[in-house]
Amino acid sequence: MSSFNSTIAVTGLNATDNPGPGVAVIRSLRADPEFHGRIIGLAYDSLEPGIYAADLADDVFLIPYPSQGSEALAARLTEIQKRAGLDVVIPTLDAELPLFISLEAQLADMKVGTFLPTRDQLDLRSKAHLAALRGKVEIPVPATKVINDASELYEIHREISYPFFLKGLYYGAYRATSVDEAVHAFHRVVAQWGLPVIVQEEVRGDELDVVAVGDGRGGLVGAVAMRKTFLTDKGKGWAGIAIHDPVLMRLTEQLMGALRWRGPCEVEVVATKDGGYHLLEVNPRFPAWVYLSAGAGINLPSAVARLAAGHEVKPMRDYRVGTMFVRISLDQIASLEDFERITTYGELRRSAGSAQ
């Protein structure tokens, strides 16, 4: 790819045991030998681990939580734009995407590029509407029902057999084998993620994941398929391996066509023992394991940054099958001065040398 010299803002620096994708996105950008720009980290909390990795973001700014609404975010991004001169912003968290999508035109006026799906595309792939994709893609979608009241669980077995999963709109999945377990799980999901709750049929098999980028016109920019080889107790992939699966790639291309998806996404499927595939979820952002794409030879975060900056990116197909990732937990040493800057001033400006 050609030389690329932009200032790119990335969210999701919460690299915890349930990591946000921001650190992986930034590492991918840094791994692009043609990237010579600056990276700005956008964090919600002063203890997000990615803030303190000096080789990741040149500068870090705190931004308001999505619950504070788009006006607060717009005001903060305007301020950051004035101070840091952003060219591109890559949001990486589910809950913030509706806000960034609603600000797309405003950001464009500020000369800040994005490469995001439309609100309609975002809604169509949501867990609540995934069943609407039936018939548009070859891959079956498990039976799904959206509920807003625990009382609905007493009749739901007529439509979806036990065991099934109860899922939050953004995150969290609990398996239920009886109505008692289902009611308990319902309240756990609501307490953490609010309503609605999505009930999804269980499909048994191997979970496979694809990180993909759609061009917004129905085409696939690039994709890497992966099988998790080690899971945490939260079901998060702690290790994985890039695989060659032509059927899965064809299904991903179909999905990009049906959704006319623009931007990054993670496609989660279950491969059953009989050779079938079932679509579990389409997450509307990069997964936390996206650095594997750069390691395997298809740097998808770099592609998205370039597309957001208005550059052309040729479709990328060939990657090194068998490339593995193995995640690691490290204790970073952080200085009290850095913590003070991010806590007191809401920013940590390494490129400027000190807080402004």
Partner: protein, 89 residues
């Protein structure tokens, strides 16, 4: 992906480390398994594979045939060969 094609696409190292690019699964096989696997990948028949085992190992004829059949059974169980696959006598 049928088992024949899968077998052809397996990456097999000299140490007997085997990688299935379709599933990401990895296996380790011993020298006997490695000899059989390489023979199957190259499309060799029973007599050829048994001949390759006779060249590399000192055992009775019945042992070679049994090793071959048992190993093929393991490959079937791992989904690397079709369930109805066998090496014809």
């Amino acid at each position: 992906m049928d088992g024949h094609n899968k077998l052809r696409d397996l990456a097999v190292s000299d140490s007997g480390f085997v990688f299935d690019p379709y599933t990401g699964s990895t296996f380790s096989v011993n020298l006997t398994g490695l000899t059989i696997l390489r023979g199957l990948k190259e499309g060799h028949g029973r007599e050829d594979i048994v001949g390759e085992l006779q060249t590399g190992f000192a055992a009775g004829d019945a042992d070679y045939h049994r090793d071959l059949d048992e190993f093929v059974g393991q490959l079937r169980n791992q989904g690397l060969l079709p369930l109805d696959f066998s090496v014809e006598r």
